[in-house]
């Protein structure tokens, strides 16, 4: 039990840095910090970037492994941690750094929840476009570190497009920043890009600045249903080539439909087109989309459906703990073949399938779980993941967000990427040379 002894050994030093009230060593408290079955030796909740820097310098001196934690909504994603000596909560970093609604920008601490941030700017008629899963729990820092796109990715771009500044402490304990508070800024290296999606392996994000958008005054969702995925993708192409610019363009497979609030069992593949604008604009959508529209959604029922689509990465594992969940980034032309490969991987392994995704930008989420009555063994899960990975088209990447506990040791969370591995390793070495942060969880 080396991890527990690390806690008791270093508790005194960590209490000196963070204060006694913010260091947790009691096993009952540490229990809620368990990641994929591994308990932390000690948990700390520093009050500032300076305290985080002190914790990280201490960890570097003693060769400890530190795992940053926000709302614990994405913490089960990634390879098994090799060790968790110190679990570091960002929950106390919630200060507003700057906010002037007239500038359409906000700077906020990493520990602020996405729901808090959205509510704050929403009061001024503004939108924070990061539609995270479980926004009441997920934090700004966690959202940036994991960079999981939500449905709004289609209309507003991704975090890499609207995160304009970032504050962080590198793995080796240097407190630094990139970017700033203004929407246009090319001074210095773009460190936002490096940290977004770095899964907490380069630095602990302490705060960030974002570009905000005027909130839509009215939205409407137009649903179109098709017998085959090919027809759904044809319709997507029609929307992409039209003058329309919806804020969301989402594919919903028959299996996924059953997991949504409006979810009847359905044999159709749906495309949900969410539009924002005046009555005249919505009328134009109706005219352009024409007979393909099967129904419209508005008000609470519309909101509920989009909430569920944003939460999909949690709905699947909650409903089917003994299942798989994949996140796929795919060039637009390759979505159709990937849908076919998913269907084959499911069928040949006795797995039912639910797929949603931002098919206008090329991001899919796919859940697979044992079909009713099917004999599914460990091998089926391993095969489904490896078959799909082997068939991935050029430039595509795939992450396994969830897999059954028994398959963890056999299914790698991250697969190949078009990006050169040595260069990524050079970045890791430059910022976290002793591999203090999230050891074993990401690429290396």
């Amino acid at each position: 039990m080396s991890t527990i002894s690390a806690g008791t050994r270093y508790g005194r030093e960590l209490r000196a840095i963070c204060g006694a009230d913010h260091v947790m060593e009691d096993p009952s408290e540490l229990h809620r910090g368990v990641i994929l079955g591994i308990a932390p030796g000690v948990a700390v909740a520093p009050a500032s970037a300076d305290e985080i820097a002190a914790v990280l310098r201490f960890a570097n001196e003693h060769g400890l492994s530190v795992v940053p934690a926000g709302g614990f909504t994405q913490q089960q994603v990634g390879n098994l941690p090799s060790r968790i000596d110190v679990l570091l909560y960002t929950s106390r970093l919630t200060d507003v750094d700057h906010y002037d609604p007239g500038d359409l920008t906000v700077g906020i601490g990493a520990g602020c929840t996405v729901a808090q941030l959205s509510a704050m700017v929403g009061a001024n008629g503004l939108l924070f476009a990061g539609d995270a899963a479980l926004p009441e729990r997920s934090t700004v820092g966690g959202l940036l570190a994991t960079a999981m796109p939500g449905p709004l990715r289609h209309g507003y771009g991704g975090l890499r497009d609207y995160c304009i500044g970032i504050r962080f402490v590198t793995g080796d304990g240097r407190k630094a920043k990139g970017g700033g508070r203004v929407v246009k800024n090319v001074a210095g290296y773009d460190l936002m890009k490096l940290l977004i999606g770095s899964q907490g392996t380069l630095a602990i994000i302490t705060g960030a600045s974002f570009k905000l958008f005027p909130a839509s005054r009215q939205t409407r969702t137009f649903a179109a249903e098709f017998g085959t995925p090919a027809e759904a993708i044809d319709f997507r192409n029609r929307v992409l080539r039209s003058p329309l610019s919806p804020i969301c363009l989402e594919l919903v497979s028959p299996g996924a439909r059953a997991l949504l609030p409006d979810g009847k069992e359905s044999a159709s593949w749906s495309i949900y087109v969410r539009a924002a604008g005046s009555d005249a604009v919505l009328a134009r959508y109706r005219a352009e989309l024409g007979a393909a529209i099967s129904h419209e959604m508005e008000g609470q029922s519309e909101w509920d459906v989009w909430r569920a689509l944003a939460d999909f990465s949690h709905i699947v594992p909650d409903r089917y703990p003994r299942g798989l969940l994949f996140s796929l980034a795919v060039p637009l032309s390759e979505i159709q073949p990937v849908l076919d490969h998913l269907a084959t991987a499911g069928e040949s392994n006795g797995l039912a399938l639910a797929i949603i995704g931002r098919v206008g930008v090329g991001h899919l989420l796919a859940g697979l779980w044992p079909m009713r009555g099917a004999e599914v063994t460990l091998v089926n899960f391993i095969n489904a993941a490896s078959e799909l990975r082997n068939l991935l088209p050029k430039d595509a990447s795939m992450a396994v967000l969830h897999c059954p506990p028994e398959a963890r040791h056999h299914v790698a969370a991250w697969g190949p990427t078009p990006t050169n591995l040595d260069s990524m390793r050079a970045v890791k070495t430059a910022l976290d040379p002793k591999d203090v942060l999230n050891r074993g969880r990401f690429l290396f």
Binding site: V182, T419, V427
Partner: protein, 494 residues
């Protein structure tokens, strides 16, 4: 070990001199692809900014393999290298070290692929920005970043500097339009970052590379997004008696929930200078104009045009005109894009700054620029990408007047300090280059810069690629204030 690698290793042992390097470059790229006569090198000693430095040799590679070989030679010989597109940059990013190697990309100017279904193009770095848009125009597509120099500047240069342009207000700067890049690293390795997918697994090396100002590697192929042309574009000209009214209108437009595609401001002096040059149709007696462009779905654009008109009039616009034809629209933009050329006619030299302020601070910064002009007895014209708070004060001067030039530098520094003080930045789209590297400590702490340096050193530890750009030397980090700008200029013989 291939023949070339053997040559490079040999060069290391022999401590290759510049003439030997030139010979090696001729062997690998061809005799006609290497320039070393002083009269030829002179053409490569400057960019569109104000610095100068003469390279030792210019080489024109034809493919990534040659770029890789050039890097191996340079690294072996420890001679600095700078990649150069069209030399239209404003921050000295493409200027060589004295006696260094310029790798010029005019022969790597092919569009390698247009992938309509994925809305991507793969281009060599020497492709001219506007040529790409023209090439895909018949498909209803275009490349969004549109620097004023887009008729000449290259996409490789856009990537290095993370260039912007008027339409970045809606569409973002270059980094928002690059999904992949093939790179030759300083050691000559050819690597790929990202690809055609909107996102790639692992660290976003593509995003880090764009805007690294040629200090991390040299791009040899770039995968860019192509956007679909909007159904309707409406261009409005808001005419104001005072620059203050125009400045207030900028934040009033965003506060009304409108995101224009572009929102440009020109002050009265600048628009009169432009009119005298190219008759764009700007009113001669106005205090300032706003050039406002809306694009998208017809219904949405028409509604926004009505709303913008109302906001302008509420903010005391004298008149709001809407261009009635593509020709009228093109003329209004021609005036804006030729602004720099127009100034060339009235002043022997001008110095452009690129500061950024939060949008709500535009009235304040304009007032400050007015005071700075008065204090230093300088003429300063104002062209803003007002919608995103990016200012381009144009300071006129005569290079032969050394005392005036000191005032120009002091005024620039004063304006940028103001930008920083109100929460802004020293560069919105031109890059830091050699021009603003000693101002970086005003914006970043020593530790911030240390982190950036450790990233540069991870790839370019010997500073073979574009040394003395983007980041201050560690000595400068500690000199937060003081006359370092002038000291540097004096060193460089300016």
């Amino acid at each position: 070990m291939d023949a070339f690698a053997r040559g490079a290793t040999l060069a290391l042992f022999l401590k290759m001199s510049l003439p030997a390097v030139i010979d090696a470059l001729r062997k690998l790229a061809g005799r006609e692809a290497v320039l070393d006569r002083p009269e030829d090198l002179m053409l490569y000693e400057y960019d569109a900014g104000i610095r100068k430095s003469t390279p030792g040799v210019v080489v024109f590679p034809q493919n990534a393999h040659q770029v890789s070989e050039i890097m191996r030679v340079a690294t072996s010989a420890r001679i600095p290298v700078v990649a150069r597109g069209a030399g239209t940059g404003l921050s000295g990013g493409a200027i060589s070290q004295e006696g260094g190697i310029v790798v010029a990309f005019s022969r790597m100017n092919r569009i390698l692929e247009v992938d309509v279904e994925n809305q991507r193009a793969v281009v060599q770095p020497g492709v001219v920005n506007l040529q790409l848009s023209e090439h895909v125009s018949h498909l209803g597509l275009y490349f969004a970043p549109d620097p004023s120099s887009q008729k000449a500047c290259t996409i490789g240069g856009n990537v290095a500097e993370n260039s912007g342009g008027p339409h970045t207000l809606m569409h973002g700067v270059t980094v928002n339009h690059v999904t992949g890049v093939e790179v030759v690293m300083p050691n000559g390795d050819m690597v790929q970052f990202g690809g055609k997918a909107a996102e790639s697994g692992g660290y976003d090396m593509t995003g880090f590379f764009v805007g690294s100002e040629g200090t991390v590697g040299i791009a040899t192929a770039i995968t860019v997004k192509l956007l679909r042309k909007p159904e309707l574009t409406a261009t409005l000209l808001g005419i104001f008696e005072s620059i203050d009214d125009a400045a207030r209108t900028v934040s009033a437009i965003t506060a009304a929930g409108i995101t224009p595609a572009a929102l440009e401001m020109l002050d009265g002096w600048t628009l009169r200078t432009i009119e005298a040059f190219c008759h764009a149709g700007y009113p001669l007696d106005a205090g300032a104009v706003l050039l406002i462009e809306l694009e998208g779905l017809r219904e949405a654009v028409e509604e926004q045009a009505v709303a913008v008109n109302e906001v302008c009039l509420q903010q005391k616009a004298r008149e709001v005109r809407r261009s009635k034809s593509e020709e009228e629209r093109a003329l209004l933009w021609k005036g804006r894009k030729l602004a720099f050329a127009a100034l060339g006619r009235v002043s022997p030299s001008y110095y452009t700054q690129d500061g950024v302020v939060p949008r709500s601070q535009i009235p304040g910064v304009l007032q400050h620029i007015g005071e700075v002009a008065k204090k230093h007895d300088l003429v300063i014209g104002n062209i803003f990408h007002a919608g995103d708070g990016n200012l381009h004060p144009l300071i006129l001067f005569d290079m032969r007047n050394a005392e005036q030039f000191q005032h120009v530098m002091a005024a620039s520094r004063d304006i940028l300090q103001y930008c920083i003080d109100v929460g802004g930045s020293i560069t919105g789209e031109h890059g830091v280059g050699m021009e603003k590297r000693d101002l970086m400590p005003l914006l970043f702490t020593e530790e911030d810069l240390d982190v950036m340096m450790s990233l540069r050193d991870a790839f370019n530890g010997h500073e073979i690629l574009n040394p003395q750009k983007l980041l201050p030397t560690p000595r400068m980090c500690r000199e937060i204030t003081g006359p370092s700008q002038n000291a540097v200029l004096a060193q460089e013989g300016l």
